[in-house]
């Protein structure tokens, strides 16, 4: 009996589908989006750091460019990714050790609140300077 089956490539994208899902699914999807974003950033960052090996002038000209408001905005986005991924990671780590499993939703809420507060504080600092 032939069946209706979806190709693997379509399966692989299903983690993105949060329709009709609950909080934990949003946590997972957010974690993955930020995770992938951070990997991309990591390699961009490592690439940019190669300027350090080219000597003082190329690095310092990059630094002056990076102090523009556009780059500072990107920094805030980066920080948001790090906070979401890092703090949600703490939830995954704790529940993985069988700690706070029943309170995982509340845990996620508290951690994301902490992320938001930290992000606002950091943004004020970044743009305040």
């Amino acid at each position: 009996m032939a069946t209706l089956n979806y190709p693997k490539i379509r399966r692989a994208g299903r983690w993105f589908d949060v329709r009709r899902r609950r909080l934990g699914m949003w946590a997972y999807t957010l974690n993955r989006i930020t995770g992938i974003g951070l990997v991309v950033y990591l390699y961009l960052h490592l690439g940019v750091l190669s300027l350090l090996a080219r000597g003082q002038s190329s690095w310092d000209s990059f630094v002056s460019l990076a102090r523009s408001p556009f780059y500072l905005g990107l920094d805030v986005v980066l920080l948001a990714g790090i906070l979401i991924h890092g703090l949600n990671g703490l939830r995954i780590a704790l529940t993985g050790f069988d700690v706070g499993v029943r309170a995982q939703k509340a845990l996620f809420g508290i951690l994301m609140l902490a992320a938001a507060v930290a992000l606002i504080a950091a943004a004020l600092k970044i743009f305040g300077d």
Binding site: Y28, G96, F97, Q104
Partner: protein, 283 residues
């Protein structure tokens, strides 16, 4: 005669026939306001379209065969009241379970699910656990009955079926299952947990923990807890996955400690682990 209010309820049903593109059909059927969704499905089949296929058997959440998605969320139509999922206007949408090949309409091929349950090897019966509510005034209260429960002379202990009815709802709700075809899945891992609790022989325990520790075992779980939220039987598969993780981690450290000692390096899992905190109300 108790008066019975009848409803005209529209159902938007996923239809699929081999070789044809899937589509939705809308049927309006008459059911009592106290009816469950499965009664409405029955009415579609009996009065509207005899070619409509779906799975069902017990109509009271014991067999686990009728599981599907109602308005996108995994449910058992036999215990879901029509009034709880219908807003009074828009059709109630019925889709087959996710993550399983669709055979026809709402029928999916659940062999992948039963392969996992067979691999876990959990027996369907369990014994010696109190199964009666402590308080009937507040069913959420858990604990020990104030009156002691005696076991009939002819028996050594009471026994009962496991909570898991093998409805596969958790495997449909699981986002890891959505992408990783080889994942053992929430029910499979919860069954491993229960089988591990029942196992009294160290080699069985080692085998079960080995399964859970595989490349597509407990560590693939993304901690979305969708399975526990969707489970109609309060099996709490995610809780079981986390309990297995804890035991595996504890054993990993024990093995490491033993390897560091003078004792020759070994992968022996023979030391029985203490009872885990989910022990009381297993799958």
């Amino acid at each position: 005669m108790i008066s019975m209010k009848m409803l005209e309820i529209p159902l938007q049903i996923f239809r699929y026939r081999e070789g044809e593109p899937p589509h939705y059909d809308i049927f309006t059927v008459q059911v009592a306001d106290t009816a469950h969704v499965i009664d409405a499905m029955d009415a579609v089949w009996a009065t509207r379209d005899r070619s409509f296929t779906f799975r069902r058997a017990c109509h009271h959440s014991s067999c686990g065969s009728c599981s599907l998605r109602i308005n996108g969320v995994e449910k058992l139509p036999c215990i879901t009241r029509v009034m709880d999922v219908w807003d009074g206007h828009a059709p109630v949408r019925l889709d087959p379970l996710r993550n399983f090949p669709v055979v026809s309409d709402l029928v999916v091929d659940v062999s992948a699910f039963f392969q996992r349950m067979s691999a876990a090897g959990m027996t369907i019966t369990r014994s010696a656990e109190p199964s009666l509510p402590v308080s009937v005034d507040n069913l959420a209260v858990t604990g020990v009955l104030s009156r002691p429960v005696e076991v009939p002379e002819s028996l050594s202990r009471f026994n009962r079926f496991e909570n898991c009815i093998e409805c596969a709802i958790c495997m449909s709700a699981c986002p890891t299952m959505a992408t990783d075809e080889k994942f053992l899945g929430p029910a499979g891992l919860a069954a491993i947990y229960r089988a591990r609790q029942k196992a009294d022989n160290p080699s069985d325990v080692a085998h079960l923990l080995g399964l859970a520790d595989g490349e597509h075992g407990v560590w693939r779980c993304h901690s979305a807890f969708e399975c526990t939220a969707a489970c109609p039987q309060a099996v709490d598969p995610a809780g079981k996955i986390m309990a297995l993780r804890r035991e595996l981690i504890a054993r990993r450290f024990k093995v490491a400690a033993r390897a560091a000692a003078v004792v020759p390096r070994t992968r022996n899992y023979s030391a029985p682990a203490g009872p885990t905190k989910h022990g009381g109300n297993g799958a």
